[in-house]
């Protein structure tokens, strides 16, 4: 870990000014950044600590019926916040499916969007990796690729984005509020992350020195019919091989609106509105969820160790659709209807 300058920001504008040098980074919870730094994957020379910015630390109701999540609110505080538990239980479930209690206490909402992939090769500075060292190659394509993408991958990168929380944020159509040297802007959640293409070094569309200030949730939290299903190599503290967040609005036994987002399968939280449109007006049955699953996975392709994820994802979408009909089973402590 290289020596660096440390500055604790006293204001948002101060933070943005302080970070404007080539090796400047913002520090939120640090749960991913510090690991990357210690491993020699990133070498910032200035850390601008945002933890003094109290204006980014609250969860508030918005006039349109939505809720604003401050970027510096911890993952656990968010997951257990009464507004979230009551109106966005899907978000709460996804957050609590990730990491460990200790990590979630430190990790922030803004940081969750910015975590890097968990590809083994990305984390080894001595291995080639197009994401870490553009042009050096991708050993995952012919190597160990169990954690890797089945959708939206490119010849240069097959990494996945590891967040659970963001799967719900994609399903809920959240918006990301950012500030930077050129002022403020809002990014639709599905536009925030990007596919690897031939620039896998870029995980998202955040501009240089921009920082996330808040995440806005729209009014509809799908609190009546929701479910998050995370399939992984152990029951806790493992990243998703496949995860599915489903939210349904059901009226008179028919699906009025459906949201389905997948985690662990692509460089972004994967959502396909065409599949959701297919479910509109249909009964929430296994057969109908299967049709939606087939639409979502139509273009999927796997590698030596992860092809099973295509069928697994299909089954998980169907199962999670049915689980969304029984939201009581999603409450903490309940026996999941798995």
């Amino acid at each position: 870990m290289n020596p660096f300058k440390y500055e604790k920001a006293a204001s948002l504008s101060g933070a943005i000014t302080a970070v404007q040098r080539p090796g400047g980074v913002y520090l939120g919870g640090g749960t991913n950044l510090i690991d990357l730094w210690k491993y020699g994957i990133t070498h910032p020379d200035k850390m601008v600590d945002l933890n003094g910015l109290n204006e980014l630390k609250s969860i508030t109701e918005l006039p349109d019926g939505g809720v604003r999540l401050g970027a510096l609110v911890s993952n656990n505080t968010t997951a257990y916040h009464p507004l979230i538990l009551e109106r966005y239980p899907l978000l709460s479930r996804t957050i609590l499916a990730g990491a460990t209690a200790q990590i979630r206490n430190s990790a922030t909402n803004g940081g969750n969007l910015l975590q890097r992939t968990r590809c083994y090769y990305f984390y080894d500075p001595d291995s080639p990796c197009n994401k870490r060292n553009p042009g050096s190659g991708c050993p995952a394509i012919n190597g160990h690729n169990r954690l890797h993408a089945i959708l939206g991958h490119s010849d240069s990168c097959i990494a996945t984005f590891p967040s659970d929380m963001c799967v719900a944020l994609a399903a809920l159509e959240a918006r990301v509020r950012v500030s930077g040297p050129d002022g403020e802007r809002t990014i639709e959640f599905t536009d925030f992350h990007r596919l690897p293409g031939d620039k896998p070094e870029l995980d998202n569309n955040l501009g240089q020195h921009e920082l996330i200030t808040a995440i806005d949730l729209p009014a509809n939290g799908f609190a009546d019919n929701y479910s998050y299903l995370k399939l992984r190599d152990r029951n806790s503290y493992a990243f998703a091989l496949v995860s599915v967040a489903t939210g349904l609005s059901i009226q008179d036994g028919l699906i009025r609106e459906a949201r389905i987002a997948l985690g662990g399968v692509a460089h972004i939280p994967w959502r396909l509105t065409a599949a959701e449109a297919e479910l509109r007006g249909k009964e929430p049955t296994e057969a109908n969820f299967a049709t939606a699953a087939d639409i979502i996975l139509a273009g999927a392709s796997g590698f030596e160790h992860n092809s099973f994820k295509i069928e697994l994802a299909r089954r998980a979408i169907i199962r999670n659709g049915m689980m969304a009909l029984d939201p009581a089973s999603q409450r903490p402590g309940a026996q999941p209807s798995l």
Binding site: Y39, Y120, H144, D233, N235, S236, A238
Partner: protein, 745 residues
């Protein structure tokens, strides 16, 4: 007069409070003055040579004191023997920084010593090493044609190679009514104890060193350091009172010990070198192994033919061996048997004993094969094992010193409710989940070695017992205290067991489940000798009240010698010391196993495990919902610490069956999931209801205590029982371990 026994009582660990309150110090936690910190640089290549090293950027970092590598290191010996340690397999042990040759990925090539850990780590990252890379071969599967017999040595004496063939396997297999053939595989596994390897060396002056090392053998580290650096044993003291887990990884000295000592001697300063988690993947590990079984049986369920072959990785410089294939015929007395165990040398580090080495590997194939045959024969798996129960070990034509496996089967099955098992798959459901039951036998050989201890009775009325042995966390400290206390009839508070320090009597490394038998017997022998000496002093005391009583007419209890037939006749032990002019009475005693006697028997601990799994039928998620392990391991010294040992073993079994594997990239020649985020061991949410039964077993052959050891036996039967339960639930047999999410889709 009734004597109180502490052996067999569920005492808490004596050091438990120290550990849970953070007051127990580990090797990297000793605060000494003027401490320097070393950080290791590991090779970026798998095989080749170091051409040059550019130190300039490293040395320019503030606080850097020295950079050590093969070109400037202090003198090291030239002979293999001097690098040998108590667990060294036949071959040429790895020599850290010896020359410019790179033999495996992650090989330490240099270390940087600085005034702070941070400076050392940063400076190490700036060291430029130029390599000349050579073609490497790390792929076990692709090199099966290189399989050969292991070399023989001390290791093959303790861990014997398979016995020769019996009968005519091929003929009997061809003639069998039912046959099963299985090919099994598991990858490498790394021990990953919570405490990472570290050494703090205190430079005492005059060439004397005090070394706080993470090790499973203080004597082992002491001898190794003395040999490597040409020091007198009396100048090297190695201390390790607390070990944050070992699982076998501490059976051999690791490179941080060499570097810490090298720097301390060279710089005449106190030096700490600690590894990080990634470096914990740069040395010994459970070897990746392919196995092949072919078992045949008659219609009535008599096993007639056993063929078990194993093909395991080793390094290109040492032949690590373990007992993988020997157990099938010890457990099941078939008459036609061929066993084979082969090694394949690769450009990897030498494998190393890892909890239940060999046994857990072999039994996974043996017991899975047994269940498949039982299924084909339409027999309950337990019934099939009972029909083939070995009352005598036909593989070596010897009786068992004791064997209560049948009772393990009975009690385990009863506690579990085995009679409710459905013989065919997909019969029992809970929601979307299929429920399956599986079982397995377990066996672990009892190893006998010499041990030594001293025992001292002080003027303050305290018994002090000493051995250099460590306590990796399983309760050795407590159990040795209990053994000593019982011998002299003292409460535990009056006994002090001094251990984990090479200044005490030499001890073998702590592994193989033999510590209680080996060191416990030595402690008992030393205490018996001490009693004898105290009795003889009492005999010549003025006003000796015991008349012409012999030692056997008396009893040591409540801190006194008491006449059995008249308990009012009592000589306090402190009076004896007073009579001895106030001088403590001390004895030293070695306990050497009677090989002539014990070699006439097959000596093993046994177990039976019964497991319930739930498998999500569509998603393939597996959960071990409950398990019962019944253990027969001779005398159980402390049921509380013993139960914890078996529970830990059962969790290891869950890990072997469902979680754990170090992924090797054959193209890059190295392991890739080298952190605890991606190297999966079970978490709390993976561990459900576990139950342990100790079946009473008396054994007068194995050692003075009748204790067989329990370090490994809890692991062995768990993984195969899980695999068998998954088969019972789903009808699918997975033979590549760990079974992963996706394997059952």
């Amino acid at each position: 007069m009734k004597k109180q026994n502490s052996i067999g009582q569920p005492y808490r660990r004596i050091e438990g409070a120290l550990k849970v309150t953070g007051r127990a110090k580990y090797a990297a936690e000793y605060q000494v003055e003027d401490l320097l910190y070393g950080y290791v640089v590991n090779s970026k290549i798998t095989k080749g040579r170091i051409e040059s090293i550019d130190e300039s950027a490293t040395r320019a970092v503030d606080g850097v004191v020295e950079v050590f590598h093969h070109d400037n290191r202090s003198s090291l010996p030239r002979f293999d023997l001097l690098y040998s340690d108590m667990d060294a397999p036949p071959g040429s042990p790895f020599r850290p920084l010896y020359d410019n040759k790179i033999q495996f990925a992650g090989q330490p090539v240099a270390f940087v010593v600085a005034e702070t850990f941070e400076a050392a780590r940063y400076a190490a990252s700036l060291l430029t090493v130029h390599y000349a890379e050579e073609e490497f071969d790390v792929d076990l599967k692709a090199n099966m044609d290189k399989a050969r017999d292991p070399s023989k040595g001390l290791a093959t004496f303790i861990k014997p190679l398979p016995p020769g063939p019996r009968g005519d396997f091929e003929k009997a297999y061809a003639a069998a009514d039912e046959r099963f053939e299985g090919k099994f595989h598991h990858g490498s596994q790394h021990h990953n104890p919570m405490e990472m390897f570290a050494t703090t060396t205190v430079y005492e002056g005059d060439g004397k060193l005090t070394i706080y090392d993470k090790t499973q053998g203080t004597s082992n580290s002491q001898i190794y350091v003395s040999n490597l650096f040409g020091l007198s044993m009396s100048d090297v003291r190695v201390i390790a009172p607390f070990v944050g887990g070992g699982f076998g990884s501490g059976l051999r000295p690791q490179y941080q010990l060499v570097f810490s000592v090298m720097a301390a001697l060279e710089l005449k300063r106190n030096v700490r070198v600690s590894m990080d988690r990634r470096q914990m993947f740069t040395f010994g590990h459970r070897p990746e192994t392919f196995q092949h079984t072919r078992f045949g049986a008659t219609k009535d369920g008599t096993l007639t033919a056993i063929n078990h072959e194993a093909f395991a990785e080793t390094s290109n410089f040492e032949d690590y061996n373990e007992v993988v294939v020997n157990h099938a015929n010890m457990l099941y007395p078939a008459d036609n048997v061929t066993l084979d165990y082969k090694l394949i040398p690769l450009d990897r580090f030498t494998p190393m004993d890892m909890r239940a080495p060999g046994g857990s590997t072999g039994m996974l194939a043996i017991e899975t094969t047994m269940d498949q045959l039982a299924d084909q024969l339409d027999l309950d798996p337990l019934e099939f094992r009972l029909r083939n129960y070995a009352e005598r070990d036909v593989s070596s034509d010897k009786p068992f010193s004791s064997k209560e496996l049948k009772e393990c089967y009975r009690q385990g099955a009863e506690r579990f409710g085995w009679n409710e098992r459905q013989p065919t798959a997909k019969k029992v459901r809970r929601g979307n989940r299929l429920v399956g039951h599986g079982m397995s036998s377990g066996i672990w050989d009892v190893i006998a070695l010499p041990g030594k201890a001293t025992a001292t009775f002080t003027a303050e009325g305290k018994l002090i017992v000493e051995s250099a042995v460590t306590d990796n966390g399983q309760g050795t400290y407590t159990v040795m205290t209990q053994i000593a206390a019982d011998q002299l009839g003292l409460p535990l508070e009056s006994v002090s067991f001094k251990y984990g320090d090479s200044k005490h009597p030499l001890s073998p490394i702590q592994g193989g489940s033999y510590t209680t038998g080996v060191i416990g017997s030595a402690v008992k022998a030393a205490c018996l000798k001490l009693k004898d000496k105290l009795f003889h002093l009492a005999q010549i005391m003025d006003g000796y009240p015991l008349g012409d009583a012999l030692p056997e007419d008396t009893i040591f209890t409540d801190g006194a010698i008491i006449l059995k037939k008249d308990p009012s006749v009592r000589i306090p032990l402190t009076d004896i010391i007073a009579f001895n002019r106030g001088e403590a009475v001390s004895v030293s005693k070695s306990n050497v196993p009677n090989l002539l006697k014990i070699k006439q028997y097959t000596r093993a601990a046994h177990a039976a495990t019964f497991v319930e799994v739930e498998v999500d039928e569509q998603l393939g998620v597996i959960n071990v919902t409950r398990a019962v392990t019944a253990v027969a391991a001779g005398k159980i010294m402390n049921p509380k610490t013993a139960r914890s040992q078996i529970l830990g073993g059962m969790v290891w079994g869950i890990s072997m069956a469902l979680r754990e594997e170090t992924l090797l990239d054959n193209n890059l020649g190295k392991y890739v999931n080298t952190d605890l985020g991606e190297y999966h061991i079970p978490v709390h949410a993976d561990v459900h209801q576990l139950d342990v039964i100790f079946v009473p077993e008396e054994d007068r052959i194995i050692n003075e205590l009748g204790a067989k050891g329990i370090g490994e036996i809890g692991v062995i039967s768990m993984a195969p029982a899980i695999v068998n339960a998954v088969y019972n639930a789903t009808g699918k047999l997975v033979k590549v371990f760990p079974i992963k999410l996706g394997d059952l889709l």
